[in-house]
Amino acid sequence: MREVAYNDIVDAVKNMIMTTATNLPEDTLEYLETAYKEEKSEVSKKVIEQLLENAKIARDEKRPLCQDTGLAVFFVRVGADVKVAGGLLKDAINEGTEKGYTDGYLRASTCEPFSRANLKDTVGYNLPAIIHFDIVEGDKIEIEYAAKGGGSENVSRARVFPPAAGKEGIINFVKECISDAGGNPCPPITVGVGIGGTFEKACISSKHALFRDLGTTNEDPEMAELEEIMLEEINKLGIGAMGMGGTKTALGVHIEANPCHIASLPVSVNVQCHSSRHTHITI
């Protein structure tokens, strides 16, 4: 059984949080640059120009790309042949999160649901992190991380359709969700779509789909085709960058599909803003 020191995980998580807050990932940068070239609206073009300039300032001066530095969301795959020495993996991830958000001068955005009291002094600075665990073969720990902002999360939706709704029902649901959202989720967006599973499985899948790099497609050709159709439909809406009107409302649609109950067709749409701050490490 391989051992990984608790503190090594704390440091690795802290570093990935601080780096991600100020560095837009390569895939997102590349897609924004292409969107800038192809956008037909002058106003939207100007917005994308500002976003590219913002990414440069953030990287060069180590300033957070956005003031909404998100809730910290993790998907963690733990090998069956590795254990953490000196503490629990969950605690190490939370400790790394708190250190990353504190040392990086990032915003503490967690609060009580009703009193809205900020949890920084009680539960911890921007804690608790949202962590999804899975156990896999091997002796490695793979940690995927994204800083998830509130504006795009607020427009996300889930619904369990009857099976008869089919592909058409799902396409219409996704399109309606993005149309209603307009400029609120900070387009150009990435759209994560979870199809199948149970109600909560669809939601988690739609979130995980956003961790995939732009330019990758679903391995199933039928789903890959559906991704393309949805992207085309969304870009017909005319919403454009920050809702100013334009041809580049979404940069990509990512589907994750699962088998489902014979009675159900669950669908979840999780939206990611243009500041798609995601990364992964293997320990």
């Binding site: 106003v43 956005c66 003031q67 609120n184």
Partner: protein, 185 residues
Amino acid sequence: MAEYNLTTPLSEEDTRKLKAGDIVLLTGTIYTARDAAHARLVKLLENGEEFPFSIEGSVIYFVGPTPPKPGDPIGSAGPTTSYRMDSYSPTMLKFGSRGMIGKGGRSQEVKDACKEHGGIYFGATGGAGALLGKQIKSAKVIAYEELGPEAVRELTVENFPVTVVNDTFGGDLYQIGREQFEVKD
């Protein structure tokens, strides 16, 4: 699309010439407030209690910045989504506030209040927090410090870049822009 340099506080003469799509560079003092601060501020106005700043001609920025690094006045400071302030903004405009900076669409009530009271809803680029934060030259918490990122701050800005989204004539840039690029099957 015209371009203007405006200094706060804004007069009705300033705001009533602006049209949806115009670009404005704002200079002067502006105030930050998000959901929690708006709830408190509006209550003060309705009860006729003392207000933490002069509301006449004021510009309110919907923002919750990141903490400043040592030596900086403020951290990253881009706009938050504005519809959450829709129930409060008409009261703010009624009492003399004349500008709002945020992102995303507003309700019909807010658009009507802009027309009636000479208010403007400006859009700033969401997610451009590093760039916008650099246009803020000083920041000071003036009310509700306990709200943390949601406290009311007095900001001094220089050439802060915004676009007119809702003007005093009922114009809406989001609607105009979208209609222009929507592809109907």
